[in-house]
Symmetry: C2
Subunit: 246 residues, 2 copies
């Protein structure tokens, strides 16, 4: 595999920003895997011929962006956000011990299908582009609590159709990285409230017409291109979201 070199940096940008972009680019290229340390500040200062203070400022930005994590005395490590946990900021499902529990994922279907207009528009695909649909439920103690409909560009995610379900496993984003070499860097989520359709009612075990919270997620890769469009639905009764403002 030919490793692409860094894009031409904009010389008008401050040095620490250029350095940040350079490191971010290497993280995006998977030069260091998730959890691995990046070079020490002193090394980066030496290889890039800048003062260590400039390196620290660049890393400050990377920490703020959520791309790396510092650990005093140990190093600075590549961080991959846990998007699969993000739904539990919205839905509270407590286990028998009263603690938050991570539900199991179960893929009900996966097939190459023509995506609806919203999905195509979100993924910036033209009308002819092929897409993959995954239908998935999240199950807690045998009870389905969330239903998910996921649309992916077929071109980049073809391996998902041929892999075995056990190869894909419970967590999708690690599977994307493992099987398709696609890494999710960030996502936009939009919450709305809707009425349970007949399908929702059957799947989630709630009354038809009762309120459901819909989470629409558009996930982006490090290159900024949209990778995945996902609709998650859960009973509004389970919805509880806490936010700090200032």
């Amino acid at each position: 595999m030919i490793v692409s070199s860094s894009p031409q940096p904009d010389l008008r940008l401050p040095l620490y920003q250029r350095l940040r972009d350079e490191i971010a680019h290497q993280i995006a290229r998977n030069v260091w895997r998730s959890g691995e340390p990046i070079p020490t500040e002193a090394e980066l200062a030496a290889t890039h011929r800048v003062a260590i203070g400039t390196v620290r400022k660049a890393i400050d930005v990377l920490v703020a962006d959520g791309l790396v994590e510092r650990q005093q005395g140990r190093g600075t490590f590549v961080r991959r956000p846990r998007f699969d946990r993000s739904l539990f900021r919205f839905f509270r499902h407590l286990g028998p011990d009263g603690n938050q529990v991570v539900p199991e994922g179960r893929i009900l279907s996966r097939e190459a299908r023509t995506a609806p207009g919203v999905a195509r528009a979100a993924l910036a695909l033209d009308a002819h582009a092929e897409t993959i649909q995954l239908v998935r439920i999240r199950v807690l103690q045998g009870r389905p609590i969330l239903s998910e409909e996921i649309w992916l560009p077929a071109e980049r995610f073809a391996p998902l159709l041929t892999a075995s379900l056990s190869e894909i496993g419970d967590l999708l984003y690690p599977a994307y990285e493992r099987l398709c070499n696609e890494i999710v860097a960030r996502a936009e989520e939009t919450l709305t409230v809707a009425s349970a359709t007949a399908a929702d009612a059957e799947c989630l075990g709630i009354a038809e017409g009762s309120p459901v919270v819909v989470v629409e997620r558009l996930a982006f890769g490090f290159d900024g291109r949209p990778i995945e469009w996902r609709l998650t639905r859960g009973a509004a009764a389970d919805f509880r979201y806490r936010i700090d403002i200032r």
Copy 2:
């Protein structure tokens, strides 16, 4: 008025943190009003006998905390968050021109009343403490769109009962500052979905039993003590919340 001096700083803390706390404390004491500039970095460095880099780091933290705002070439300014706008992150009400519009506030009642248990607990008040209740609606083009129930400790907010409605005006938090010298520093909000009660239905012009989004807000002063407990209800159909994750 006797201005309290700074609390004894913890000498184990880094210099820039102690400086941050010192400045934050002065902001909390209203030494500089909202929108006013704090001293320049060079001045702060001189008066506190520290390097300017240390001052910059302290201000970095204050910026991250949302207490001040930098403007290159002009100065660093005290910032008061616009909590009254925060509800519009949750509810989208578009005007005839398709733009987001700020609705009018209308106080329906204000009286000294005994608060319900949740409100007392949130405000950390004992059973005998007096409280003030405000009932308020937010109106857009003559149509009520949000209903608000607000509970305040009577001890700190007594002037609200005697002031005229025009003295209070449309925005509550500036009124708290003007009339009661209470400044809201941060708040915690919890979102849930409920069914419209008969009162909701009448007030908001929706069907009884249709879904409403409930925003529970607990606002804190700079001293960390809870100041205000507020319940806002709006039609779930108007709810739309967008969030970025990474």
